[in-house]
Symmetry: C2
Subunit: 338 residues, 2 copies
């Protein structure tokens, strides 16, 4: 981000017809976006969204409340426009890409779906490495290609979303490995496990971590313990940071992809805004590790990028206020008496 | 609110292609709006906003960081379109009314301002009743007339905003009287007082409460300790509830007007959504008294209705999701395995 534009934006905030600081975090949002976009007039109008889907071999361990077939069914729902993220992308007039990184059953042709099918889902990470080196590379590159398309389209903001039955288990394993944290702190109900289900999930995570061992290199962890869609998200976030595109990070899954990205390239952190605090309990640990304070706390836990989509209008409002409010001088309003 | 439409909306939320509850508070928002609007398809597209301004005699006690002249100057800024609420109302394509209930210096004609000038501001409530019976009635009726215009315009949501230098003192006095609470708990920095300024504000509030005595009738309290714009807000909120228009309540000042309204007519509570938690520290006590859990917590403390305006898109997103998402059956998506 550009320090000179940041300072000019901070100065402008002091001139607008309001008590200083009275717009709270909206002021900092506008300032951060001005610095990231290197502009006097930050915008979040052109939003490029991509939802990344993939299946998880760890579903063999019985860690999800929904059947694995839902991943592919939801990809079709994204393409048909009936999913939450489809509705929200239309509401925002945003571009929405749908990418299938790999489902257990091949999808066949679906209009509007970029059907990459890198693998028939990941391997069962409780028993063996989730991905091969070639697979994780292909997923990272698929994410980077999305960032390239976002840049070409003039995106002012990028949002990545996830779909993958079982991926709160995968994300929790990744977070445990990268944060050296306990499975109990990172495992949650996901789409709706009961307490016994969460306990079983903790045991599966523990086995995966034991199998993996001590390697803490972010890409090695991602290969061994990741998901195809999480790897693609990591690639997209790194690609956006490299192309100076601000990112609005969604909930638990995307935040774990952001954690992998930031551990791999710490400078990527400066391009990330955090949209919301997920109801998934492990999210707080992941956010804290990146010193991230999310904008919303609405008890959402859907994924797909839905929490980030809901937060977009906060950035748009922040930009409108920054760009369009009158200054004390222009409006002939007296400033405070000191 | 309509119980049958509420139940139908609750049922529909269970059919949409998402784990139950995974949209968090957006689900309840859509359900509440469906019940309030008595419809299968709730909407927050037609938003009627009104900012109510007035001066406060208690400014004679030196309780604000800004000079009193700012009230009138900001009314001109609202009319010119340069204030935060002006920018946000355009951003939302909302109707914005500007009402001057009474400034110390008469404003003269300002295009776009409903210049009622009920009184040259309130009297100094630390020394005498703030308003006469006729004045408070005129202000309540001005608010009710706004609600009537909102209803005639087919508003799906109402937002009231405030402008009045000194009005955090007035609001704190009202809250203390209605909640039997301590001035220390309700007085805050407002537009920017330092600690010594807040201590002085506490003393002024204490004097006002002593002068007022023990009468806890909401309208008697409002007359003795209120502000013209707060009385008009109270009238607008009561008028919206009577006309079955949902209201999105802004921050500290509007929440105190809501408290007066709810104490006067408890049934009004069912029409209120609470937009945000203000940085003004007394807001929490007022929210708690109405069992209100605001949607946003962004450190805003501007007033004008700005926090409510920023929250509108959460209601719009909730409605879009409720109305436009596919059901499990329509999308051919498997439901959870239980």
């Amino acid at each position: 981000p550009d320090a000179a534009y940041r300072q000019q934006a901070l100065d402008r905030q002091q001139l607008l017809t309001k008590p200083p600081g009275s717009l709270g975090r909206l002021e900092q949002l506008a300032v951060d976006l001005a610095a990231q976009q290197a502009t006097h007039r930050p915008r979040a109008d052109q939003v490029h969204m991509a939802v990344f889907a993939g299946d998880h071999g760890v579903c063999d361990e019985g860690i999800s409340a929904f059947p694995r077939a839902v991943t592919g069914q939801m990809i079709a729902n994204f393409a048909e426009g009936g999913a939450a993220i489809s509705v929200l992308s239309r509401h925002l007039e945003a571009t929405l890409e749908v990418l299938n990184l790999g489902t257990v059953e091949p999808l066949g042709h679906l209009p509007g779906v970029n059907n990459l099918q890198i693998a028939p889902g990941t391997a069962n990470l409780a028993q063996q490495p989730a991905m091969t080196h070639d697979q994780v590379t292909a997923a990272l590159c698929a994410g980077d290609a999305v960032a390239e398309r976002a840049a070409s389209a003039g995106a002012q903001l990028f949002i990545g979303g996830d779909m993958g039955i079982g991926n709160t288990t995968t994300a929790a394993v990744l977070a445990c490995a990268l944060l050296n944290d306990d499975p109990e702190a990172l495992a949650g109900p996901g789409t709706g496990l009961d307490a016994a289900g969460v306990s079983h999930k903790v045991e599966v995570i523990r086995r995966a971590l034991q199998r993996h061992g001590d390697n803490r290199d972010p890409l090695a962890v991602l290969t061994s313990l990741g998901g195809l869609e999480i790897a693609a998200l990591t690639g997209a976030l790194l690609g956006c940071a490299a192309r100076r595109i601000p990112v609005l990070v969604d909930g638990f899954i995307v935040s774990v992809a952001a954690l992998v990205a930031v551990r791999q390239r710490p400078g990527a952190r400066a391009w990330l805004h955090f949209a919301h605090r997920s109801a998934e309990p492990g999210h707080d640990r992941v956010l804290a590790a990146m010193e991230a304070r999310p904008l919303l706390d609405l008890g959402m836990r859907l994924g797909e990028g839905s929490g980030a989509a809901v937060a977009v209008n906060l950035l748009r409002a922040a930009c409108s206020l920054h760009n369009s409010m009158a200054t004390f001088r222009d409006a002939g309003v007296s400033n405070r008496e000191d």
